[in-house]
């Protein structure tokens, strides 16, 4: 089984159709609330509708308990937005994951992002027992096998409708060892991944090098790469990302720009400083989108603006990516 991306539709999700039609795709991300409050979803969704082509629903990201991604995915479908359901291996074994996949497909979910998951020590239940029965790559393999071979992970045949997902994965071009990252992406392609969303990119030259190496391995014809981008909210956030988030690479240049953005604003004027930071953060994000767009093999961008979904329309606008393409029904 290879991850060869023909142009033929295998699932027919909007995401798949746009990518295969050659559009430069924009995906967004919605972080479910730490409560059972439906209105939060509706509000966040309103920022993303018509601005992005599909929306990732995170699966208890950073290991903090949140509303489940399947339920939120269904709400988005009802709101007319295409979800990309995230699925991690941290909290579920292969039995639970496959069961969720059957349910998610029956509810209309068509895109799935397969992840290992953040370790529970980062979240609000560090005492939890983790699962990690599978990892992201064996998860991709399983989802692909369920779809293309109509078989459960154990090899048993799926009698009746099989769950059919357009299969995504993540890649972090900035994690170590750098030389191995393109090869690891190659493993995901071998396992059957069809699109990739990358970790947040700030170091564009390094990302360009990563893409070149992926191209040299022949991967770019086999998988759609969506470059991960996101707005920096403040100087403190920039510093935090640069120093404290494993696998994140924020060049000094952007930290300086965030510092300069508030140079002429007095410390006391918190509101003006916040607004200046937000303006600069959005601007940097839009610039990075334009830069990554020029890199061969980049099929779109994935905008991660969790807990700041309201910034997305402005980013997409400034990046010159509006209006979003419409598909013929």
């Amino acid at each position: 089984m290879s991850g060869d991306n023909g142009k033929e539709l295998v699932v027919g999700s909007k995401l798949e159709r746009l990518l295969k039609a050659g559009h430069f795709v924009v995906t967004g991300e919605l972080g479910p609330p730490q409560s059972a409050d439906r209105s939060v979803i509706e509000k966040k969704a309103s920022y993303l509708r018509d601005v992005v082509d599909a929306v990732n629903i995170t699966d208890n990201q950073t290991a903090v308990v949140r509303m489940c991604s399947m339920a939120v995915a269904k709400m988005l479908i009802d709101l007319g937005i295409e979800p990309i359901m995230q699925m991690t291996c941290r909290d579920r074994n292969r039995i639970a994951i496959q069961s969720d996949l059957l349910g998610a497909y029956a509810l209309g979910v068509r895109n799935l992002l397969c992840l290992t998951g953040d370790h529970q020590s980062f979240g609000n239940h560090p005492q939890a027992k983790n699962v990690h029965d599978l990892d992201s790559i064996t998860l991709i393999q399983m989802v692909r096998q369920m779809r293309d071979a109509k078989k459960f992970q154990c090899g048993e045949e799926i009698k009746g409708q099989e769950p059919r997902f357009f299969i995504g994965g993540a890649a972090n071009p900035f994690a170590d060892p750098f030389e191995f990252r393109p090869y690891r992406l190659g493993k995901k392609v071998k396992a059957g991944v069809e699109f990739i969303q990358t970790q947040l990119i700030f170091n564009v030259p390094k990302f360009r090098e990563f893409m070149k190496r992926c191209g040299d391995l022949g991967l770019l014809d086999k998988v759609y790469i969506l470059a991960g981008v996101g707005p920096i909210k403040s100087l403190a956030a920039a510093r935090y990302m640069a120093t404290s988030v494993p696998g994140m690479d924020v060049p000094q240049e952007y930290i300086d720009r965030m510092a300069n953005a508030v140079k002429s604003i007095p410390q006391e004027d918190k509101k003006a400083r916040r607004e200046a930071w937000e303006r600069e953060g959005i601007k940097i994000c839009a610039e990075i989108i334009q830069q990554v767009r020029e890199i061969p093999g980049v099929a779109g961008v994935h905008i991660m603006s969790i807990e700041w979904e309201s910034a997305v329309p402005e980013i997409v606008q400034q990046a010159g990516l509006l209006p979003r393409p419409k598909l013929d029904a």
Binding site: C89, R90, R94, T116, G117, D118, H119, S121, F122, N130, H132, D133, L134, D135, S136, I137, T138, Q141, M142, Q153, A170, A171, N172, A175, D176, P177, F180, Y183, R184, G186, K187, K190, A191, Q199, P246, G247
Partner: protein, 222 residues
Amino acid sequence: MIIAQRKPLEEIKEMVASYEKVLVLGCGTCVAVCFAGGEKEAKLLASELRMARQMEGKSTQIIEHTIQRQCEWEFIDPIKELVASVDAVVSTACGIGVQGMAERFEDKPIFPGVNTTFLGMPVQPGEFVERCQACGDCILDLTGGICPVARCAKSLMNGPCGGSQNGKCEVNPETPCAWQLIYDRLSKLGQLERLLDVMPAKNWSTSRDGGLRKIIREDLKL
């Protein structure tokens, strides 16, 4: 070997608070080598208990003894009389030893004096590190002699994950990323191509997940 850590005195004191005569029983194998529950540590614990109980005006009949192993009947059986002479036992053996004692001495309360922590080794004086999780299906042949099941925080079969940075694990900046170690080692061995193949989902039924594990060796049976 099995690595353990002494429980806090307070906790042990609580466990045996209602018993007059207590035996602190050391174990001369793994827990002695990791300085948690061998002869010396058992002696130390006994004297700590004695002092603490004396201050509270309680019985100070704490005796100590150490046997070579609490995980084999042949070493446990000879101390029958000693155990019979006390009201309770604090075993500073690993969890296997504590259970061995409990199984042999049905009517005697046996309390753990250490926390059995992992299977590992002292990598340098004073530093003990986990190495094996006894998953029952060794894959060290595929991973350059470095175990991702025990040493990767997520037991990944196809690492390193996106959190690996500067050779360290995202979970703890003090801990080496197991998959970076595997990468470096295979690179030295000229076997990096091993990492190009997808390692299939692991069969965990040989691990603890399959229920209590047991090996029967007909050739060794009496």
